[in-house]
Point group: C2
Chain length 662, copies 2
Amino acid sequence: MASLKRLLVGSPIRTERLTQERLTKKTALAVFSSDALSSTAYATEEILLVLAAAYVAPISQADAFSRVIPISIGIATLLVIVAISYRQTIHAYPSGGGAYIVAKDNLGTMPGLIAAASLLVDYVLTVSVSVAAGVAAITSTFVGTRLAWLDNHRVAFCIFFIAFIAIANLRGVRESGALFAGPTYAFIVSFMFMIAYGLIRFYLHPEIVPPPNDIDLTIAEGYQPHYLSLFLLLGAFSNGCAALTGIEAISNGIPAFKQPEPDNAAKTLTWMAALLATMFIGTSVMAHLYQIHPHEHETVISQFGRIIFTGYLGWFYYLVQITTAGILVLAANTSFADFPRLSSLLARDRFLPRQFANRGDRLVFSNGIVLLAVFSAILVWAFRGETSRLIPLYAVGVFLSFTLSQSGMIVHWWKEGRALRNMRASAIDNEAPANVKDVTGIERKTLAQVARLEKGSHWRKSLVINGVGAVATFVVLMVFIATKFIHGAWIVVVLVPLLVLMFLRIHRHYFDVAQQLSTEGLGQLRPIHHEVIVPISGLHRGVIAALEYAKSIAPHHVTAVYVNLDDETTQKLREKWQQWGSGVNLVVVASPYRSLLRPLLNYVDRVKRSSHGEVVTIVLPEFVPARWWQNLLHNQNTLFLKGALLFKRGVVVTNVPYHLEH
Amino acid sequence: MASLKRLLVGSPIRTERLTQERLTKKTALAVFSSDALSSTAYATEEILLVLAAAYVAPISQADAFSRVIPISIGIATLLVIVAISYRQTIHAYPSGGGAYIVAKDNLGTMPGLIAAASLLVDYVLTVSVSVAAGVAAITSTFVGTRLAWLDNHRVAFCIFFIAFIAIANLRGVRESGALFAGPTYAFIVSFMFMIAYGLIRFYLHPEIVPPPNDIDLTIAEGYQPHYLSLFLLLGAFSNGCAALTGIEAISNGIPAFKQPEPDNAAKTLTWMAALLATMFIGTSVMAHLYQIHPHEHETVISQFGRIIFTGYLGWFYYLVQITTAGILVLAANTSFADFPRLSSLLARDRFLPRQFANRGDRLVFSNGIVLLAVFSAILVWAFRGETSRLIPLYAVGVFLSFTLSQSGMIVHWWKEGRALRNMRASAIDNEAPANVKDVTGIERKTLAQVARLEKGSHWRKSLVINGVGAVATFVVLMVFIATKFIHGAWIVVVLVPLLVLMFLRIHRHYFDVAQQLSTEGLGQLRPIHHEVIVPISGLHRGVIAALEYAKSIAPHHVTAVYVNLDDETTQKLREKWQQWGSGVNLVVVASPYRSLLRPLLNYVDRVKRSSHGEVVTIVLPEFVPARWWQNLLHNQNTLFLKGALLFKRGVVVTNVPYHLEH
């Protein structure tokens, strides 16, 4: 076991190396952006899937699908708003401004916990959705080949990739960065080239666009054909909002950046948003120009690639598919960085079991990584590895946490503004010496100093930016819940409050324990009076070792207890005991039903009742066999007795082992 | 769990009731004979199955099947020989003369263990074969009805019945007797009537015999069609010897009889043998007269019953089938009485884990009962509940133990004869006073006394009887192995030596343990010098309780040990410790890899090395949550530490629990 763990995870890393594990901007872009960027691989397709349901409406099929362009532009606008909002957060919270911290600091504990719960749910979904979409990219390349049957083993593929990423993360954050930078940049370059090449070919040779494929309605599961209503358009918009997931990853992960962390993080965020907007709108435009419709066994990207990359560029199709699969599968990595980090924050605040706050052998939060892997694997299995079935659960958590985080920032800036107003009110004029303290001890600034602070603050501008962000994300959240509730969003709506309840319950327990264990008002150590009981199964060296130990604790208060299962054996023991003459009192208790445990426990209870405040110690002789299988040859009475005694108050159990040689 | 056990097994029974649990002759016949008698349900069929393979030979089919009569008479003769032999054993071993005891007493330990191993294997097979045949009797009645599909669920039926019998036995021996007497006597009466009625009808109306059914060769699996060779005849004879299994049950179970045990047991054995011989030969004669041939989905008994019970006696067919099924399923009960009893004997002699020697709540050897049920269920599952596939494994163990038991009896009688000869040689003449001791202290008898003893002994006659028994069973054993080796007997031939090896290995271990634990040469209890270590995770009430306890053991040798995982927290603890000023020395150990266990264990090792012969006690503060799920919220370091310390020599672990309230 131990050596298998070493092989997979590597040797332990010393604690001192903790601060060295930082990421450059380029590596950070790869590690934190893969989730956001990779969503271009499925966001357009998810929009088209909803629009496909309108094909029997009085407008033409092409007309319905053409709505993908305005919808995509709307989503890109939202993306820009959210990205600008998050830049504010990064500067205000340089040590990491996840939705949990921002909401808790500014709105209070409950909103913080709601944000935390929705983020945890969302990280699990990110892993499931990304891995499922990545596997779809791989199986798409086999459409029409002899390997098409691989599509039937999606779930197995997904679980394999989840395990792969989990192990990479258990090895440590820096190694993850190195592992994932290559695929991310390969994806960005090849995807951008595909869009550019697609555009050029379309304007040079518009005749290469094939007639649109037939739409297989079975893939739009859960959607009844109906008119292109506003509800349908909003549903398509909601599905496309999956493109925004992962945009908050950078603001959570600021401490992993090289110094100066906030500046590096903000720049990385801007780059990420620009890349994402370009690639997403590019994909939608291409899908529109080339009249690509969703298909059950092949992704939109794959269909598009097959059309444009022909002849001597045919190999580029495979490159795009492979890099898309690569970034998707690795996108899950964003969550493997964030889920354990958030869990550790929650654990430190006593809302999750404290085991999540511990760094493992390789300086990562191992328990969180393992838990995330398990939950996402279960989800993939339950939804049969199909991306479009997971999407309705996806964006609720993201937009709930966006809204709470942006609302928190509004309060944050408002407080900064109020602080400045107070400072100005109490400021002294410019002539007085700087930094005079007033009667209440508060430092007073000069008017010139206050003016400089006001100039550097921009709190009004920031408040407006985050205000717009909060309203926009809240509206999208409501739209999402309204359009996707029956398709799966309800699961998340139910789950988040349950998680919050769990957090509160756990917190309550830790609070209770801390109170009960508090050393408040405790003085010196009190002396203890002992009463010692040694349960024996006969007279042998193990028993003698236990008796010697017992006598050393309380020379005149040791009693050996023997359970009488057979009168003859008991009589022999009594005789042997007297001959031996150790001076220890031997008590024989009856056992009408041949049970060992019950009579012993009853005897302990009797002794406890008659002892007035003394501590009763049970000294258990225990022999330890040399080989594990030999345990099968001895009854495990000592073990059962230990288990039963654990729940008795005021009873201390001491094991005196006697080691057998062979 | 506990209440489910009560419901199934009943309340515990007090030990004093042990001797009251005795059986009358009539009840004992039901409990111990069901195995032997029930074999009439399949023994004839198994003979016919082998003969069926000869149907393409130059003799007529009817000719081949007619060999069932001489074969059955041969088997019945063998039965008489074995029964008479066992009557000798019963009188010589009134406290229970199983093959294990007889062989061990007279031939030595190894032959005893071989007998024991073969019997254990055989008891498992008895359960499997009987239950499988019982289920076949039930499914036979459904042939040609809508319920014929039940035949596909044989294994499930079998396992259900095994569980049923196991539970009945776990409830206790007397209740078992009451449960099984009815079905056994119902079977004897209805089966005898069937044979008698069949004979009468045949002589009054020979025209009711139908033309023989076609033989479906597929059922004679493993048998290539060939001439009616001597080998084939011996194979048929071997299969039929399954009828003898179970005949030894009474001699093993003598202590369960009412007093005088040997006389009652011997009488019961005679009755059982007479009944068995009559029913077995009767079945074979009927099968011959009515020209019944084996059939895949219907037993021979069932076919016979359908022919003779017509008209207003039609219901009698169902009665016979039901009582046959009943006795077969309950026949397994013989093994449920014998297997645990033999296991307990082996456990008492330290050849099996001592847990098998303990009587459970209901005064039965529960562990043996459970083990038998598990193994026989596995066997039924592996052989798909088909009687004829189990038969080749069956009789090896029986006849091996017969042979060893009879050989042991030969030695027994020879020793008695020698003892009488020695007595006569040293006897004094009739005139001298009786019971004079000679110079060596041996009591000397008068010639008249010796003559009386010689007259009452019959050792020569007994030696001849058991000699004939030993030779006959040995010859059958060889024939069985020769004819059935490739069909499954090899499994038992391999298994028995492995079991004997296991017995010896277990015995060796217990011997080693006894030697190491021997108190030989031990004097008074020696005083102990203590060194106490208290691993702490901080300063709280649980830790204080542990420190108080530690100081009470060794006031000036207590050290608290803290593992430094975080410099800041450690510094705070140091300050708090000094302020508190308990006088206990605080040692902080470093942990570069954030592990708690390793640094603590290393520290314990250092202390152990520097302490010269002192006992190192680890006092572990442990807080016990009020509810089980709260354990999930606390790391289980105490548990891991306990596990790791168990294997360190000279280290005593003391748990000081601190109970949380809610």
